[in-house]
Amino acid sequence: MDNTRQHLVVLLAGDSGDGIQLLGTQLIRAAAQSGQDVRTLSDFPAEIRAPQGTVSGVSGFQFQMAAEAIFDPGDAADVFVAFNVAGWIKHKHKLKAGGLLIASSDGFDARSLALAGLAPDEDPLEEARADVQVLDIDVKKLTSEALKSIDLSGKEKARAKNMTLLGMLTWLYGQDAEAMEVDLQRQFKGTVGEANRAAFRAGFHLAETAEWSAYRREVASKKAAPGTYKTLSGSQGIALGIAATARQLGRQVLYAGYPITPASDILHELARLRPEGVVPFQAEDEIASITAALGASFAGNLGITASSGPGISLKGEGLGLAVMLELPLVVINVQRGGPSTGLPTKMEQSDLFQALYGRHGEAPMPVMAIKRTGEAMEDVLLAAKMAVEAMTPVILLSDAYIANSAEPFRLPSIDTLPTIDAPSGAADRAPYARDAQGVRPWITPGTAAGMHRIGGLESEADTGHVSYDAKNHQNMVDARADKVNQVTRFYGPLSVEVGEHTGKLLVIGWGSTFGALRTAVEKLHKEGKSITHLHLKHLFPLHPDVYEFIKGFGHTVVVEMNQGQLVQVLRSQTQAPMSFIGQTSGQPFGADFLYAQLNTLSTQKA
């Protein structure tokens, strides 16, 4: 039977200690390497080892593999791999009718039922058979038999369950088993490596010999653009952007961070990669990380720091100082569900107001957002270019979705990376003398000409001396705002994702809603709807063409994962009629949900 298809959505669910993220990562790498496009969605609890077997401890990893370009991890799953009953009941609504459930039956025993809060007489697998295909195997038993001769405890052996499943799934998706083994060998050494390989083989051979062809789901491959690829998460992309910044700027970058989910991975990546010209520094707190970054910028490095919402709040005072000092600084906010500790591992776009307005005094600064993993590297470079060439702090927004979602990434050619030119401190220029774009020179300690003292007190124009003069303060407030307003010179043309430049319905999004939004709008557009998708990279100052562009449509709808933040900004700045679709559940929008919502709206507003 030829089960080859164009798309396949797979959902893996089980305990957070089951190694699900690792299993998923292995599968998507193999898919990407075989030429498929992939998008992923990780969903895991904030606890490192959440209560085993319970619904609250479920970790999930969803991915879509496709023979064509895709932008989201898919909605309903074609295949559901359940490590235990808790994982199944938490997410079972996500499996399509007629889909395939692969269940590790050892996770469906009486104890597992009790942990998941089910009665002992319930049989979720039997119930499932009514709507979906079920393939149940005792993966634990299979794994322990495969590892019989290996010197590991029973508990350690059970941890190789994900490798047994990896073997099965590798066969089911027609992936290259040899390449997978080589990859495992590279990652795992010693007895654990031996166990992982044995479990992988056991799973693969079982699938191959047990006539599982009815369950086989192969995805066709597409021809990717020529180049060298790797799979990349958003945090890894940001780290590459920081590495590239040091190279393009030709100066050292001090990356100062304090551990916080989901921003810590950037620090881990930089510490692991050790890129030339980047000094990773784990500071004692959020305030220290931004002030150390500012100190570095004063001394002629570029300071970069990252955090998530609560940490950005702590950095607020430092952002004010950065505005006052007019030093370059990049502040990355990997947003999560808030306020307070909120949902540390879940996604939300609710820090937009904080980024735009969350400071004391008149403290404007450019704000941009990364829309997908594959653009993280270039966005960091652009943020750094704007920070250095306009001598201003820049906020770059990411979120938990981008941080953890992976996609194939074509390595850029280094010659095509943008240049970053520091505004020179020519000897005849005073520290706060501005050029035509309102930018002051970057004169750094060690330079004899232009020695100066600066601080948080209002500075006198040109000299930077302390000034309490009324007129000077007004002028400096205006000059700082004017300088930031001029950063639109760094923007590319306003680019449309899907649709025409005028029409009935304009859909505006920003950040990580990109994938689902694009998928939904493209479908409607193909169906003949007059609908256009615009995705804003620059949230302050807005792209100068946005205002006219909006006027070209009968109605505009803003889609974002908050209670309506960008929509308020756009309403107040354009006075155009605008609706809003929002969600703050910690989960990303599904493309199907957006399709339905936008379909209704386009009918209403037609």
Binding site: L273, V279, I287, A288, R453, I454
Partner: protein
């Protein structure tokens, strides 16, 4: 260059009679005698009366955020370890709002002398009690006397793992210059607590230790390898009885029988730091040799990867 050459063209705006004037003067004198390169010198401060000092010194300077001078300075040293960086701070700045940063700059051992102006009061905000104010201190925010137990900068620094801990005073220019020179020559963070008189809000709080006439009975000046002797006729000394500090008369015993100051001994340094009564030590309490943070960081980064190498790391594949 002499001391005056290190003063900027800005008008100094401390209250007339403030102890800060003396510290500024001794600081610039020290820069002159060190033959410091002004362009290679950065003075970093937080917020408070003392933190205005960078504006008055003709070097690079940054007047940063309240309490954050240590982290700003750490960033500067990580960016460019060859710069001569100084931190200027006060008791509120370093020990209250910036306490955390002080702990960490000290334990990391970033190469930077820290001049902590202690006047036991918030001056710039016009007279509230500070973390070093004595119990019972009367201030605008404690009209009935302070209930807070005061923080001891010396034991705090020792507890944080500081490698150089010292105390001096505004009214003894020679001693202050000498301690600042030692702090500058130290490899690592050097905490110098400076008793500084706020003549407006807390006048005379250190009088017993700084007044020339009273000082001999209340201040004991430390010299490494020398006995701890004080008094107007150098007729009193300290001995250690177990871990207890005792004052003894030298009329019937020789100075050599006294406690010999050993700035390398952390236990003895702690005993000195605990002397918070009406006899207090001045000088270097403690010093040790330990690698400097920013040098270690840069040494650890000596094997870095080019961007090409970084991009190629991990599993990559080619599509032709």
């Amino acid at each position: 260059m002499n001391g005056k050459d290190f003063l900027s063209d800005q008008e100094v705006r401390w209250c007339p009679g403030c102890g800060d004037y003396s510290v500024l003067k001794q600081f610039t004198e020290v820069l002159a005698s060190l033959e410091a390169d002004p362009a290679n010198t950065v003075v970093v401060s937080g917020i408070g009366c003392s933190s205005r000092l960078p504006y008055y010194v003709n070097t690079y300077g940054i007047h940063s955020l309240h309490g954050r001078a240590p982290s700003v300075a750490t960033g500067i040293k990580l960016a460019n370890p060859s710069l001569d960086v100084w931190i200027i701070t006060g008791d509120g700045d370093a020990l209250s709002i910036g306490g955390n940063h002080l702990l960490h700059v000290l334990r990391r051992n970033v190469q930077v002398p820290i001049l902590l102006f202690n006047n036991e009061i918030y001056g710039l905000t016009k007279g509230q009690y500070s973390p070093t104010s004595r119990a019972g201190a009367l201030s605008k925010s404690t009209p009935l006397g302070s209930i807070d137990y005061p923080l001891n900068p010396q034991t705090l620094a020792l507890g944080a793992g500081a490698t150089f801990v010292a105390r001096s005073m505004d009214r003894n220019p020679t001693h202050l210059r000498q301690i600042l020179m030692l702090a500058k020559s130290h490899e690592g963070s050097a905490l110098v607590e400076i008793y500084q008189n706020c003549n407006v809000f807390n006048d005379g709080v250190f009088e017993a230790f700084t007044d020339k006439k009273m000082q001999s009975d209340h201040a004991i000046f430390l010299t490494h390898g020398e006995p701890l002797v004080f008094g107007s006729h150098r007729d009193k000394g300290l001995v250690l009885s177990g871990s207890q500090v005792q004052v003894v008369s030298l009329t019937d015993r020789s100075a050599s029988e006294c406690w010999i100051h050993d700035e390398r001994d952390p236990m003895k340094a702690y005993a000195l730091a605990r002397m918070t009564g009406d006899l207090r030590p001045f000088g270097v309490f403690y010093r040790e040799d330990r690698s400097v943070f920013e040098k270690q960081v840069h040494r650890a980064l000596s094997e870095t990867r080019s961007l090409e190498e970084v991009l190629a790391m991990g599993r990559t594949w080619k599509v032709d």
